[in-house]
Symmetry: C2
Subunit: 108 residues, 2 copies
């Protein structure tokens, strides 16, 4: 016990859950918002912006990257993180479809 029974659910359900989970932390929301609004995507700038240590921010970045929402490009000694446009669009679509599938009809 203690581990999600991934294999019992469909790929779609697992993919959707993974995406939502990646977004499911205020620090990662803050990182995404920062990447969207600013011109600077350098990791160090994100660390300066957030009230978290460098290693913690790096971990959050790594999870966002694992979920595919962002990508990192090495730029000298630093790394430039950006929204992965294609994956972002797909996530938007998949999550949007879940919300749209409810048409407002309840049985009770």
């Amino acid at each position: 016990m203690g581990l999600t029974k991934t294999e019992e659910f469909t790929k779609t359900q697992n993919d959707l859950a993974s995406l939502a989970k990646a977004i499911g932390h205020p620090a990662r929301i803050a990182i995404l918002q920062f990447l969207i609004k600013t011109k600077s995507c350098v990791c160090g700038d994100i660390v300066d912006e957030l009230p978290l240590s460098q290693s913690t921010v790096s971990q959050h970045l790594s999870e966002l990257k694992k979920a595919g929402l962002i990508k990192g490009e090495i730029d000298g000694p630093s790394v430039c993180y950006c929204i992965d446009e294609k994956a972002w669009g797909k996530a938007k679509k998949v999550i949007g479809e879940l919300f749209d599938s409810y048409t407002g009809q309840n049985c009770c």
Copy 2:
């Protein structure tokens, strides 16, 4: 350590994260999809549908309720769970806004 520094982030960021977190589990996705598609919202029917024990399903339902996405109405000895239309619409809007705020412009 080990606990999220909620107070360091904005209410919007925390609310968004809470919503995403609630959706961030395949079982809860499955529950939501089931509630949306079926006419039956009785807890027992959800338990029959999912590959999880009754107590685990009840826990997931409780989290979805805590997040405000569903509501439960007592119907005799059983409970009828339904999507909370108002909260669903709000969640859809808030999450949609996050995705829409990215217009496809990266710095790198």
